[in-house]
């Protein structure tokens, strides 16, 4: 059960991180595609969605799930950045 909850949380956060990475203004400016950057409001919403599973786990005091989710999301964030940088070649 715990594994499923964490997996769903990580998937949701990873999707939000992917969207944030693809619409990140600094990254797009480096690529010369400044116009494709998302506005502030949708980016804030995406940040909220990315953090939502962690906040839910925090409120429910599910510490083990929270630690796994946080670790997985941070590792995925790094991998996403690496992958998207390779694509930007």
């Amino acid at each position: 059960m715990m594994g499923l909850v964490v997996l769903c949380g990580v998937l949701l956060s990873a999707c939000a991180l992917l969207w944030l990475a693809r619409h990140d203004p600094k990254r797009l400016r480096v690529l010369g595609r400044r116009h494709a950057a998302a506005a502030l409001a949708p980016r804030r919403l995406a940040v909220l969605i990315a953090l939502a599973p962690g906040l839910a786990m925090l409120l429910r005091a599910d510490w083990a799930e929270l630690m796994i989710w946080a670790g997985a999301v941070l590792a995925i964030g790094w991998l996403l950045t690496q992958t998207l940088a390779v694509r930007a070649r």
């Binding site: 715990m2 600094k26 480096v30 630690m67 796994i68 941070l74 590792a75 790094w78 940088a85 070649r89």
Partner: protein, 530 residues
């Protein structure tokens, strides 16, 4: 993120860089071996599986071999006892007493055995001091080699622990100074420039990995330092100040479980019954058993439980030895629950990442890998920025030698483990010699030949050895996949597959590095030399 004046930023950069220059290579060794140690239990199961899978951590019928073992041990050595499952599910059981060596340093003397969880036979009996008992343990040697390198770099204690404690502090300094001097931590979280100058892309790679890993780097460094300093420094100092130098007394007070002295002989109650009661109370399986004064009227059993699902830490119960009666639930520190005790109980799960089985271990492995990448990329960045300065070249060679040579050396030691165990020669010595020889060759090889070519060669060799290990495991008498699937021991096929995939990835990277010309630091070094 935090706007600091330029002078402060420069000072922080100097602290960040120089702490890495002096301690970075050793820190890299500690991190890489820590990454491997996350799966120490699984590595033990993979290297030394039993023909049949174990279904319980402590098998039914354990009382009989434990009583038999206790009866065979000199009563003087029955001062302390512990047992827990190790490679393949074998129960490692040990009786020992704490003594002092000729120089007055604390040491221990005892007897250790393995208990087969299926046949309940006592096997592999070894006696002597801690080192002699360890040396006789052949099934856990591979995992222990990684763990000992991670914990104290194979340097005798307390110096090894002090060293790794200092390395943990250096990692914390690097994390905090990196956080403070990175002005655009959040803004550049997704920015990894690869098309501009090579140094800039390397700076981005280091900063991005460091930013994503900042929180856990600090956490792992803090908890690691705590473990290193607590036993090597904290307890002796505390004992000196508050207990007139009596470390045993200090430990008793911290642990909160001082035995009442009653040396009258009394038979030990059923350990199995205590385990069943503890499992019922905790709703989780048993992690570890220890008994003080086995066979005496003042015997006391302490049973530590695994964390129940969703929890970070498990509970610990204390039972009366002769009657087997439950006495109390013991906090991690002292006898009364406290904030300090609660924080202390979190140290181990947060450092080891073992609170939710393979799921949490996989995440900790990934975070450790990222931390190793941060350490190595930072060192490479530092040396490449100074590539034109002759004085920095030895460090540049050492960075390449350690960076690529360390994983290679660990793999060579793993190969030697299987060969030495099959040939029935001293596994410990053979592993250590092969490890040091490969690491030395890697460092000097990086200096002698073109740096980039040395790195590619080491990467290719690492890939080849990763592919060879599963084959070697089989060739040295290990079980086949069919046998493991038939007994539901999936750890062996899983690790074989992970090694094979990692080997293919290393070979692919080595092949690509050979084909794609890069404005790499090693090439710059070569140009400068030329």
């Amino acid at each position: 993120m935090i706007r600091l004046p330029q002078r402060e930023t420069k000072s922080l950069l100097a602290i960040h860089g120089w702490s890495a220059v002096f301690l970075g290579l050793l820190l890299y060794v500690v991190i890489v071996t820590g990454v491997a140690s996350v799966f120490a239990d699984e590595i033990g199961d993979w290297a030394s599986p039993l023909p049949t899978a174990t279904t319980q951590r402590f098998p039914a019928g354990l009382d009989q071999p434990l009583q038999q073992f206790a009866a065979s041990v000199d009563p003087e050595l029955r001062e302390s006892f512990f047992a827990f499952p190790r490679a393949g599910g074998r129960i490692l059981a040990q009786f020992h007493r704490d003594e002092k060596d000729a120089k007055g340093r604390p040491t221990e003397r005892g007897v250790t055995v393995d208990i087969d969880p299926h046949t309940l036979q006592i096997e592999n009996r070894r006696a002597g001091d801690a080192e002699q008992m360890d040396a006789g343990d052949r099934s856990n040697r591979l995992a222990d080699f990684f763990v000992n390198l991670h914990v104290h770099l194979h340097v005798p204690n307390p110096w090894g622990l002090l060293l790794t404690g200092v390395l943990g502090l250096a990692m914390m300094v690097a994390a905090v100074s990196g956080f403070l001097m990175h002005r655009h931590l959040l803004r550049e979280l997704f920015t990894l420039r690869r098309r501009r100058g090579d140094l800039l892309s390397k700076r981005d790679a280091h900063a991005v990995a460091g930013s994503w890993n900042l929180l856990f780097s600090f956490l792992l460094a803090f908890t690691g330092s705590f473990f290193s300093f607590a036993t090597s420094f904290g307890v002796p100092v505390m004992a000196m100040v508050a207990f007139n130098g009596d470390q045993a007394k200090a430990f008793e007070t911290f642990i909160g479980n001082p035995p009442v002295n009653d040396p009258r002989p009394a038979p030990m109650a059923s350990i199995e019954a205590m385990l069943a009661d503890a499992t019922h109370r905790a709703g989780a399986d048993t992690f570890f058993i220890s008994v003080e004064h086995w066979g005496r009227a003042d015997a006391r059993a302490t049973i530590s439980m695994l964390p129940p699902e969703g929890e970070l830490a498990g509970t610990t119960y204390v039972y009366d030895g002769p009657s087997g009666a439950f006495q109390y639930e013991k906090p991690a520190l002292g006898r009364v629950p406290s904030l300090g005790g609660s924080l202390f109980s979190l140290m181990a799960p947060l450092h080891f990442g073992n609170f939710a089985g393979v799921l949490s271990k996989a995440v900790w492995f990934a975070l450790g890998f990222a931390a190793a990448y941060v350490a190595l990329s930072g060192l490479r960045l530092w040396t490449q920025r100074r590539a034109a300065e002759r004085a920095w070249r030895p460090l540049a060679y050492a960075v390449t030698g350690f960076g690529y040579g360390l994983p290679l050396s660990l793999l060579v030691a793993s190969v030697v483990f299987f060969v030495a165990r099959s040939a029935d020669i001293d596994v410990n010595t053979a592993m250590m010699r092969s490890f040091l020889a490969t690491l030395t060759l890697s460092v000097f090889g990086s200096a002698l030949v073109d740096n980039a070519r040395a790195a590619r060669t080491m990467l290719a060799l690492t890939g080849a050895l990763l592919l060879a290990l599963p084959v070697l495991r089989l060739a040295c008498g290990g079980p086949t996949w069919a046998e493991m699937f038939a007994t539901a021991q999936l750890v062996v096929p899983a690790i074989d597959t992970a090694l094979t995939l990692s080997g293919l990835i290393c070979l692919t990277f080595a092949w690509r590095a050979a084909r794609v010309p890069r404005a790499d630091a090693p090439v710059q070094l070569k140009e400068v030399r030329g």
